[in-house]
Amino acid sequence: MIRAHLAPPRLSLRFIPVWRRNFLVWKKLAIPSILGNLADPMLYMLGLGYGLGSLLPQVNGVAYITFLAAGTVCYSTMNSATFEVLYSGFSRMHVQRTWEAIMNAPLLLDDVMLGELAWGASKSLLSGVAILTVIWTLRLQASFWMSLWVFPVVILIGLTFSAMGLVMTALSPSYDFFLYYFTLAVTPMVLLCGVFYPVSQLPGFLQAVSGWLPLTHAIDLVRPLILGRLPAQAIAHLLALAAWGSTSYWIAVTLTRRRLLK
């Protein structure tokens, strides 16, 4: 039984109707949802970028708002994916029993999970792209064409953080549980991974911790692209995100099978 739960997640296009169901619900509430998702990162970026930025000389050779903008793309993508799979995912899994209903149809739990993963990534893509649009509007990017590479990177970031969030959803007894994840994982990453200032400003041991965290890898990919350069060690950063994402997804699927298929 345990071994069956540990089997690699099955990947099938059957996830599409699950994704589509979530999309249909979102469409009904699209405008408040977009505003809710964007207001927060945008205010941080504009408020700190211009307010704090006016007191700062250049950071890493660029205006502070430009520096902050790349971090905000990643942080907003992470937040959006995380909120979706934690709170909305938990509602669908536990409160509304939507997953149970779907599994009575010819779909597997693995199909439902893949649908949720893809949906979390889709919603976070929207958040990432919205911030990117602000960047383009303010002409913060060095090269428009180079900044287009942010799209595929944001998709990977969304998948990674959706997968990580699904682990929490699988373990959660109630909505309150998610606070631990925010306090112990999301907030530390926002503060340690180079959203607001270069990681090089941190003491050595914190830099070492930061180097392992997925948000650092995301920012190390996105920031050079906004600044008009190809990221250094791009392959390593992509692999690190993929490793966090795929490992988390496997764990999430295993834990959810244990939770629901009994």
């Binding site: 039984m1 069956a4 109707p17 699950v18 589509r20 169901r21 249909l24 619900v25 009904k28 509304q96 029993r97 939507t98 149970e100 209903a101 779907i102 599994m103 009575n104 149809a105 010819p106 779909l107 597997l108 298929l261 009994k262």
Partner: protein
């Protein structure tokens, strides 16, 4: 030929065996009722039959397919009404059917054909555009039944379909189920309402503690397991009449201050009771509920 057959089903959780070697089969066109007190293993059995959980032992063949190996393929032709409400609160009544139909990969044209007739069947045609959250409990259950029919299933599985409904809503639900049975659908139903089982099922299986303890049609089971007459004696002085009751009836049970007297010939006991002016009593034909209580005992099961 059996539409569904299971042999030697076993399911363990930790140290305890919830289902302990259960055999069951359903013929095409039959309505089988699975009865049992809370915790008897009914829902676990259903989940194994649907391939949602793996049995620790035993074999299942459903619609000619091995389960759980080919459970997903089998579920293409099964409709399920789960015990807990799982309708989508964000969608309208009609959208609930449409979105669910997509999980079966039914083309939109087929869905557009089927949805109006299913809404008629569920008595929800005027509610098609309403949100599910505005529906009453009975309407939600009927919508759940309509949802289970979206794929025009060969087998319909219902887990306690009328629990929590008022009498009016239960009767409407039964009417719907009867019409499905009359159409020749095969139905598997769990319930702990004996009147429901008596009204709907062709054949019953009573399970308790994970094993089958009785099987037969409702009529056969009443004839086989219980005396035809029941006299319930209650109120002050009931217990004082107990010795008399034991002499005049075939069998007698005491529950608190009430006596349940079972008799093949009810006349002597009734004559004796008529003479006792202070006693209140109720004489009725025995029912499936009496069989059920005899087989599974009277202790509470939800502790």
């Amino acid at each position: 030929m059996a539409l569904l057959a299971a042999q030697g089903l076993v399911k363990r959780y930790g140290g305890s065996e919830v289902v302990r070697g259960l055999d069951l089969s359903i013929e095409t066109g039959e309505c089988l009722g699975l009865l049992g007190p809370n915790g008897a293993g009914k829902t676990t059995t259903l989940k194994m039959l649907l391939g949602l959980i793996e049995p620790d032992a035993g074999t299942i063949e459903c619609l000619g397919l091995p389960v759980p190996q080919a459970a997903r393929e089998a579920r293409v032709r099964i409709g399920v009404v789960p015990q807990m409400d799982s309708l989508d609160p964000d969608f309208s009544v009609a959208e609930n059917l449409q979105v669910y139909g997509r999980y079966f990969r039914l083309p939109e044209s087929v869905l557009q054909d089927r949805i109006p007739s299913l809404l008629d069947f569920a008595g929800l045609a005027s509610r098609a555009a309403n949100k599910v959250t505005t529906l009453s409990g009975g309407m939600k259950r009927r919508l759940t039944l309509a949802r289970a029919l979206i794929n025009d299933p060969d087998l319909i599985v219902l887990d306690e379909p009328t629990t929590g409904l008022d009498p009016q809503a239960r009767h409407v639900m039964w009417q719907g189920l009867r019409s499905l049975i009359a159409q020749g659908k095969t139905v598997l139903l769990t319930t702990h309402f004996m009147d429901e089982a008596e009204r709907l099922a062709d054949r019953l299986i009573v399970i308790d503690h994970g094993i089958k303890i009785a099987e037969g049609s409702p009529r056969e089971m009443i004839a086989q397991y219980i005396e035809p007459h029941v006299i319930e004696v209650f109120g002050e002085g009931a217990l004082a009449w107990k010795a008399e009751g034991l002499r005049l009836c075939t069998r007698l049970e005491t529950v608190g201050e009430t006596l349940f007297c079972y008799a093949v010939d009810e006349a002597p006991a009734l004559d004796s009771l008529k003479a006792q002016t202070g006693l209140r009593y109720l004489h009725r034909p025995s029912s499936l509920e009496d069989v059920f209580l005899k087989l599974t005992g009277r202790e509470l099961r939800d502790q």
